[in-house]
Symmetry: C2
Subunit: 119 residues, 2 copies
């Protein structure tokens, strides 16, 4: 399965999915599947959120809380959940505010090892 097929499969299984992306912690996208339109510029938002991810990682490391495995940010227009795949890459999914965040978290958790073995 290609990266994009994995990303599409995750989107198709989650109610309210907008898109799923494999992304470098540096903010550079590897691959994306866009499921439906959103009210926000999803890709620009992700680049900005990659800075938030690095910020959370540095904060956790500074206080010996261990590595950040997951980060979820909910705003009025979009919920995003990111899961670390390797120290350099993470999977991130955007959902509409009423989307199924629990299912998204679960699917990112089980999909991350599948992508890890291909990176």
């Amino acid at each position: 399965m290609s990266f994009r097929e994995h990303l599409a499969e995750v989107c198709q299984s989650v109610d309210g999915a907008i898109a799923c992306t494999l992304m470098g912690v540096d903010g550079i996208e590897v691959d994306s599947h866009v499921q439906s339109g959103a009210d926000v510029d999803y890709k620009s938002l992700l680049v900005e959120y990659s800075g938030v991810f690095r910020n959370a990682r540095d904060a956790a490391e500074a206080h010996e809380a261990g590595g950040v495995s997951e980060l979820a940010i909910s705003t009025e227009k979009v919920t995003t959940v990111a899961r670390l795949v390797t120290p350099e890459y993470y999977l991130v999914m955007a959902l509409s505010p009423g989307g199924n965040l629990g299912k998204a978290r679960y699917l990112l958790r089980v999909t991350a090892p599948l992508l890890r073995s291909e990176l």
Copy 2:
């Protein structure tokens, strides 16, 4: 009910709860209830995470995604979930990694309006 009683009630209802805090977005604590010991310096971590919260808020605003209502960060040792109460204050809860994040999110959502009316 005082702030601390609300915070204690939330902790007592969530499996794996470590602590619950009402916090200024500037990183200054208003009140806290500590339920059980943690492997990490919870209070210092929260101060650092308040910077992550501001960072997420600025990123979302810059891309017109609306205000940040919730932010959850999971690390190897501790999961924290923060919910905005007013533009200046948020409620934040720390859980052990196997704790019930769904219940924590639910209780923060229903408790936030109760605290808002007292702030």
